[in-house]
Symmetry: C2
Subunit: 219 residues, 2 copies
């Protein structure tokens, strides 16, 4: 069922396709069809790429009608998450960013619930924020085990990131979404996805500037 060699990027796009299709459902019948170029337009890609992605997960369409939306959603769902699997998430760091993430994910992806938050601030201990209880980092092992958590979000300052990562990995977490601007050292079997907002903003600033230059030149 699960093929080993599947690219990071393909998984990301599949998740994107799913969200786009889910949003589309209310507007149409579930047994609607969609063409690869339509889906591509909705997600800002090309038809060929959509077709190749669906090919890699073994989903077939119909040359005249396109892809059945309902079946495709099920197919992607089965591929991305085994049905009925536990997918509880832990959050480390209940600062500004952590709270925003709690709010964001809690009402947006009920399938990936953040069930526990960790922080070093004793003030927060046992408080419930956005329906999520705060624990001390010392309780990591116990709480992660109890909720069978496999996925962690790192939203602590850079200086604390490696420590909390080690605790999470020790407790059995095998996938991390890291917002701290540091490169985390983890065992080879732990997956890390980095989101570096500062880096992204600087990229934008750089290319925004380029555009201005080009405009001036073009004038």
């Amino acid at each position: 069922m699960l093929r080993i060699a599947i690219s990071d990027k393909v998984i990301g796009r599949l998740s994107l396709y799913r969200r786009i299709l889910e949003r589309r459902i209310p507007k149409s019948h579930m047994d609607d069809h969609i063409f690869s170029h339509e889906l591509a337009a909705l997600c800002g890609g090309t038809g060929a790429l959509v077709r190749r992605d669906l090919m890699t997960i073994g989903f077939s369409g119909n040359p005249k009608k396109g892809y059945r939306v309902k079946e495709l959603l099920n197919w992607i769902g089965n591929y991305l998450n085994a049905p009925e699997e536990e997918r509880n998430v832990a959050l480390a760091g209940v600062g500004n960013l952590g709270r925003a993430l709690l709010a964001h994910f809690t009402y947006r992806r009920p399938k990936l619930p953040i069930v526990a938050a960790f922080d070093t601030d004793a003030q927060l201990l046992n408080r419930v924020i956005q329906g999520c209880r705060c624990f001390s980092v010392q309780q990591m092992d116990q709480v992660v085990g109890q909720f069978n958590i496999r996925v962690g979000i790192i939203a602590v300052p850079a200086a604390a990131a490696q420590d909390v990562t080690d605790r999470m990995v020790n407790a059995g977490i095998t996938g991390l979404l890291n917002f701290a601007p540091v490169s985390l050292r983890v065992p080879a079997d732990v997956f890390v996805e980095n989101i570096d907002m500062t880096m992204s903003l600087e990229k934008v600033a750089f290319f925004a500037r380029l555009n201005v230059k080009e405009k001036e030149v073009a004038r």
Copy 2:
């Protein structure tokens, strides 16, 4: 000075190198040197890649001592941002995420100040959050012009993203950091960087699961 064909990824890594080096300064003398493999270890890359990145921006090291940290910082700085250039940033959407971003960037990157926030909520109008004043989206043209803003951050719900994007682009913004999970339509000369946190979390969940399976198999 600015070469046209410079990859997205290289810019991102340069920004990363800069931050790593800045953090390193207090620990050592400014006239310290660093080897490509050391920098690579700090950012989770390879020495060859670091060397190639520095080569593309025309920075040279010394075969025995490595790269001069101070000079390298200046060089990257000059490359990424022309000295003394205006780099004001506008934020659209003062919800949970927007506020977290305000806090995050305001105290972390004083070189890229968020000088104006926009929201449709009349309650927020003229309030000052994290030192940043809130405006109505109707005032976009005026405010963006007044502060000479080139960079925008989209932190509004998906449904509102395209509208606020159009307003920003109209007002003269040429680079966008987009947190909304939609593909923005913009003119070809506007740069868009997408951060899709939900997609990233689903990627992590997917690969975390894979690891668990592998472990079970390996047992």
